[in-house]
Assembly symmetry: C2
DNA sequence: ACATTTGTAGAGTGAGCAGTCAATCTATAT
DNA sequence: ATATAGATTGACTGCTCACTCTACAAATGT
């Protein structure tokens, strides 16, 4: 199901679906519209995705994967936990601002019944790196000794909140970077 | 539209809608099912709510109002900003845990196209108190001097994250209270 | 060259849904 | 008693939508 290399038409379909889902919601977007927007026939959509549900879940996994790759590539690694987290923090925020639709879709998806349809193995894979990193930082006494999930949740929601704020308040680049750094300092103060 | 005192049948309808929306999502829930679950006829639903959309928005406003009232009543007022925020923080968290469906619905609603349909006056009314409180605390130098919206967003998402964590990790009462307090301390450290 | 698989198209189908409507019931007013 | 307005019902409708099906085209293998 939508694994392996993704064809051009699949990319078009996912891009079209993203745009429309963000604008009209899952149910407000007929598959016919998605096909139209992607410039393919109705049947083609169902050739690649067995059901609409399959398309939605595939889109989610695709976005998450791309986001992960981006951070992996861009964020400079660092021995110092604080700097390491900071680099990743900044890259995620920047990505979320450059890909607002994608980020918004993830939120939408998370608080929908579709969230339950993501295979557990996929979820675990997504979390494993972050968890390991947090556990590492705890061992190094760089951050508070708390349940890993707890820390991760607080970090995620902090990032979510910041992204939301920056999206609403359209600021100049300089001002924005200032707030991002400030925001990380606040986060770090909280968990260190 | 669904203002003024709410009749029993309306209450039944909202309760039914909440339950089903949380379980199956907005689109996965036909109005016919909502009516059935509420024990009224199909037409009765449309007597009270012009459209399904109207029902959804009304439900959101109803929940938000109830949540606000609950906090207003329960949270002990305090001259000390920190204590004042803490009391409210705790009450919101406890409410969210006792009313998981309601809280989940709010999230679902926020990241949906329906969010745009809430009248701006309603939104402003909801935010005014919190904003005033934050501005007050800033003047008293109890918390950092930042944009009010920024602080509010960080607080909201922190609460959201904590609620989510506590919902997943089912802990004993004592443990839970410990984490709530700890979590508030962390939040306060961040913004003070 | 031919066979087989894979991709693409788009009209068609049947189920399900939001919302209507005419009829009946209830309540309050006069 | 009677009139008026609101509440309640549930069968009905017209439309939308997810998904199917058949036919044809392109690629791939032999």
């Amino acid at each position: 199901m939508s694994s392996q290399s993704i064809s051009d038409k699949q990319k078009d379909l996912l891009a079209a679906a993203l745009k429309l889902f963000v604008q009209y919601g899952f149910h407000g977007t007929p598959t016919s519209q998605i096909a139209k927007q992607a410039g393919v026939a109705n049947g083609t959509l169902f050739h690649y995705y067995k059901t609409k549900e399959d398309l939605i879940v595939s889109l989610y996994i695709d976005i998450k994967t791309r986001m992960g790759q981006h951070v992996e590539e861009k964020a400079a690694k660092d021995k110092n936990p604080r700097k390491d987290f900071r680099n990743q923090f900044i890259e995620i925020i920047l990505w979320s601002l450059e890909n607002k639709d994608d980020y918004y879709f993830i939120q939408q998806f998370h608080s929908s019944p579709f969230a339950a349809l993501v295979p557990t193995e996929v979820i675990k894979k997504q979390l494993s790196k972050s968890c390991a990193q947090i556990e590492d930082a705890i061992k190094q006494k760089a951050i508070k000794n708390r349940d890993t999930e707890f820390i991760l949740t607080l970090m995620s929601s902090h990032i979510f909140g910041l992204s939301q704020y920056l999206t609403k308040a359209k600021l100049a680049d300089k001002e924005q970077k200032k707030i991002i750094k400030d925001s990380f300092d606040m986060l770090w103060k909280m968990i260190s």
